[in-house]
Every structure is written in structure tokens, then in C-alpha cells.
């Protein structure tokens, strides 16, 4: 591992993120809550401002210049997102508010209309609530049955258990690419290939992978993939659903309104083709354009570089955390090249409750997350009420990890002093 590359990347990009250069409680901000939401570079903020300052108008509906600029920007960003995940066709990208809405779109438009009593939906025990509750709705409504893939001894996705669950009854497999709690990267190529042998569709929740590495939907061969813009340098309020063209075409609309129609009568309507069929109402135009700017920004750096840098940082984070005897980290330990996990560590410290830890670290300017991270069933499964989670992005530095580790040790000592 080379220190130089790491220094170069974070040093090169930090100036792009004005928010990072502030003091919290008199200490330099150390932002380690990136798995919850990333910060935004100037390029993205500028794109947003530029749009509202120069081009703002509704899309697709006007023939005037501003409307056509807005439409070009909005549709141009779709091309960027399509290229980013290597979709074969631009209309395979549907804008949504976030990953949650994208999953709900599939659940309502496809799940509710396709699944029947006794059909099986395979999820894993590590799913985010966003990839659990919509399928509970579908199961309740259709009589479909939810099945859950367990964890291995190392708290990885249990592929063997998955194999034993898949059958002709399986109609859908919906799993997370990289867990936002365990940090493990799941074998999605295998998961997809196995599901397809049984004719089941596969949805990949790529919220924690798309921002950090190259994700190629054609290589994965998944049927749907979802991600949220706000975790990948874009604003809140914009995310996307990727779906295979013919599959999306076969799905009835999710929401009704303007934008999604072809021909409307008082008693009925025909619907627009994809992607607009699934984009009812005035969309988040500026946010979509800013998502395009985020994609440009990430691609200019290079997702391979971002990934390599984060692998180094993750190795360092684990090395430092592992050295603290009170710390118990969930999920697999990183392998030699850190190819098996993403840059986050959910942990407990024994004496210090995650919420207390988060308050104490905040006093030192350090932002981490405490709670169940929207994976309550997983926490219950692991016997943890809540965990603390530190998560990195490519603008974080080793020095920030050092600051975090020092403060963490002090917090443990502070509580431990009483407990000793």
C-alpha cells in the first residue's frame, strides 16, 4: 500500500468540499458518516446554482428556450447516469427521489401486479428497511412469502444458504450489494446467475456500492438496481432505478399524473414509454442535473482510483480499530486487499453506548452514526441493540482516522474509569 496515492487523492479533492473546512465545537470537522450521506463538491453545488440561475423551467412541456435547456440538462444527466452504471440504454434509468422510492416503485409496479400467493421473495437478513418493508407490503397484499438468507460465521452473505432457498417458487431476489451495517460486499454476480437459472428476477440495492466503486449493471446482469444520489456527492431528493428495458416496459405505471401519459381521456389514458412512464409529475430537475454533475465529478477522478484509495483507508481504519481491545466490529474483517468490504465499520465498545459515544465524539468535531442504521432486524439477529458506525469517503484522510481513534480511546477511558 502506498501512502502517496492516498495523500494525493484526499489532498487533491478536499478543497472541492467547502463544508469539510469548518470547526465543530471548536475542532476541525471530521466527517465519518458518509454511509448515511456524502458531502457535495463545489462542482455539484455550482451545477445546481447554475441551473436555477440560468435555465430553470419545467421539462418536456414548453417550447421556449428555458424549457428546452432544462429538458436537455435533465435528459443529459440521464445519459451520464446510464454511462456511469453502464446501462445498455438510456431509458433504462428512471429518476426517483432516492433508493427507497426506487424499490417501492418496483414493489408496487411489478410486485403487486405479478406476484401471487405462494410465490417466494428472497431477501437477506442484512437488508436495509428500504429493501424489507416494501416487500412486506407486497407479501401482505399478494400472499407471497418472504425468505431470508442468513449470515456465515464471518458475518458474510451465506451463498450456500441462498442456494438452498432458491427454487421454482422464487420469483424475486432482492439483496443489498454492500451492507450498510456489516460492510460486506455480497457476491451479486453469483446471486444473479443462480436466481436466473430459476427464472427469478433480481433487484440489487447498490446504495453502498455505486458511490465507491465501478458498478456495471450489464456485467452483473441484474434486472433492477437502485441507488441514492445523496450518498454519491449529489443533492438529496434524487436517486435512480435501473431496470432492463423490456422488463420496465412490461411494468404498469407506479404513480399517475402529468409527464407519464401518452393520450388522456376522461375515463382512461395510455401511458408514455419508459423512462417517463415512471416519472409522473414535475421531477427534481435541478437535482437530476446536479446528479449528472456528481457523476461527472466522480468519473473525472475515476471510480477505480476512489475504490483503491478507500481500500487503503479501510485497511487503516480496521488496523486502528482492531488495536482497541474494547472494540467489537461487526461484519467480516477485511481480506488482504480489502476486496471483500466497503469503507465502513459498525462497532460496539462495551462500556460506552453508541449514542453516548456519538455525543462525546461530536464534542471533538467527529461525526459518526449511532443507532440501528435502518437495519433493526439485523441488529436483533446479531444481539446488538445499536452500534456506532464510522464510514469513509474518498475525501477522508488517515489523519482524520487518527483523530477519531484518539477520541474513541478517550471516550472509552472516560466511561471505563468509572467502570474499572
Amino acid at each position: 500500500m502506498t501512502l502517496t496515492q492516498e495523500k494525493t487523492l484526499a489532498a487533491r479533492v478536499r478543497a472541492d468540499f467547502p463544508i469539510l473546512h469548518q470547526a465543530i465545537h471548536g475542532k476541525p470537522l471530521v466527517y465519518l458518516d458518509n454511509a448515511a450521506s456524502s458531502q457535495k463538491p463545489l462542482a455539484v453545488l455550482d451545477a445546481l446554482r447554475h441551473y436555477y440561475q440560468n435555465d430553470n423551467a419545467n421539462v418536456h412541456r414548453g417550447v421556449h428556450t428555458l424549457s428546452s435547456r432544462a429538458t436537455d440538462g435533465y435528459e443529459g444527466a440521464r445519459d451520464k447516469v446510464a454511462a456511469f452504471v453502464n446501462a445498455a440504454h438510456r431509458e433504462e434509468i428512471i429518476y426517483t427521489r432516492n433508493a427507497t422510492e426506487a424499490i417501492n416503485l418496483v414493489a408496487y409496479a411489478w410486485g403487486m401486479s405479478t406476484l401471487q400467493r405462494g410465490d417466494e421473495i428472497i431477501l437477506s437478513v442484512m437488508e436495509h428497511h428500504a429493501n424489507l418493508i416494501p416487500w412486506q407490503f407486497v407479501a401482505q397484499k399478494t400472499g407471497a412469502v418472504l425468505r431470508f438468507v442468513e449470515l456465515t460465521g464471518t458475518q458474510d452473505f451465506d451463498l450456500d444458504h441462498y442456494r438452498s432457498l432458491v427454487s421454482d417458487k422464487t420469483k424475486l431476489v432482492s439483496v443489498v450489494h454492500a451492507s450498510n451495517m456489516l460492510g460486506c460486499i455480497n457476491p451479486v454476480e453469483d446471486i444473479v446467475a443462480i436466481a436466473h437459472q430459476y427464472g427469478a428476477k433480481v433487484l440489487i440495492d447498490a446504495c453502498q456500492s455505486v458511490p465507491h466503486s465501478v458498478v456495471d449493471v450489464q456485467a452483473l446482469d441484474c434486472d433492477w438496481l437502485v441507488a441514492s444520489g445523496h450518498k454519491m456527492c449529489a443533492p438529496t431528493g434524487i436517486g435512480f432505478l435501473y431496470g432492463k428495458k423490456e422488463l420496465l416496459r412490461s411494468m404498469p405505471p407506479f404513480m399517475g399524473g402529468g409527464e407519464m401519459i401518452a393520450d388522456v381521456f376522461f375515463d382512461q389514458a395510455t401511458y408514455a414509454d419508459i423512462p417517463h412512464r415512471f416519472e409522473a409529475g414535475t421531477p427534481a430537475i435541478g437535482e437530476a442535473i446536479a446528479l449528472g454533475a456528481a457523476v461527472d465529478y466522480l468519473m473525472a477522478i475515476g471510480m477505480d482510483k476512489i475504490h483503491a484509495y478507500e481500500q487503503e483507508l479501510t485497511a487503516y481504519l480496521f488496523q486502528q480499530l482492531n488495536a482497541i481491545s474494547e472494540v467489537k466490529i461487526y461484519g467480516p474483517q477485511p481480506d488482504a486487499g480489502v476486496t471483500n468490504r466497503v469503507g465502513l465499520a459498525a462497532f460496539t465498545t462495551g462500556a460506552v453506548h453508541p449514542h453516548d459515544l456519538s455525543t462525546i465524539l461530536d464534542q471533538a468535531g467527529i461525526a459518526i452514526r449511532a443507532g440501528h442504521h435502518c437495519t433493526q432486524p439485523l441488529h436483533r439477529h446479531l444481539g446488538a441493540q445499536s452500534t456506532a458506525r464510522a464510514s469513509v469517503y474518498f475525501y477522508n484522510t488517515r489523519e482524520e482516522i487518527d483523530t477519531f481513534i484518539t477520541a474513541l480511546k478517550e471516550a472509552i477511558e472516560f466511561f471505563g474509569g468509572i467502570f474499572g
Binding site: H25, K27, A351, H353, P354, H355, D356, T359, I360, Q363, A364, A370, G371, H372, Q376, H379, Q385, S386, T406, A407, E410, F414, F415, I418, F419
Partner: protein, 153 residues
Amino acid sequence: MSLDNMRDLYQQVILERYKKPRNKGKTDPADRYQKGHNPSCGDTIELTLKINGDRIEDVKFEGEGCAIAISSADLMAEALRGRTLTEAAEMVQRFQSMMKGEAEFPQEFRKLNAMRGVAQFPVRIKCANLSWHTLKAAIENSTPQPVGFVTNE
């Protein structure tokens, strides 16, 4: 890191009660029983009261949570013993005012004032309030059956 600020929040008694709560368990009988839960952080409490006439004879709690939530519940349980339900309801109000930085407890309840520092940490007020909020529901519901969960999120 300077932990000075933290010593105002995490007073000795808070850390002690978090480590060794004195009022954990269930009262026998449990004349009042109420559950409280803050879903976003996962803190839970199950509060039981033993009541004689309108007087609280015993208070116990079970639950999981942070140092603020647990110590608050433990100190509350202790302060309630021997009080009437009306007095307890007044204490709920006073505690909630204290969390806004607007009140304190008089001398006889001074231990509860250890929670005062929480008022400076707005995101943690709900932790300290959870047990009191649960108590309020337990006072208002005069049956030994909980009315589902209460929450103060």
C-alpha cells in the same frame, strides 16, 4: 479532546447509575405497566409501578439504552417511591421543563438535577425524557395493561 463539557453532561451519578442501576426489575404486583420506545435510536423501557391507594410504593424498570436513558429511569424510579400519583404527574412536568432549561427540582429531589446538563444537548433530551414520558402514560392509564408503546420522538 477536552472532556470538560462531557463531565457536565455525564455527571458521576449518571455514569454510576448507568453501570449499576438500582431499580431494575418488575414490581410485584405490577399495578401499572407501560412500555416506552424511541424507534430511531432503539432505546426501550418497561416501567412497572406498585400502587397503594394513590401512593406509589415501588417503581422498577427494565430496558436498554444509553447512559442518559438508563440513569434517568433509575433516578426517576428512586424519586417516585412514596409519592402520590398527582405528585408524580407534577414531577413529569417539572422534569420536562428542566429539559428545556427552565426548572430544577427542589432539595429533596436534588439527585434528579444531575440530568440538568442534558438540556444543553438537544438531540439527547429525548433519551432523558423517555422514562418520564412512559411514566406519564402509566399514570394516565389506570390499568395494569400497557397502551402499546409510547414514544417521545
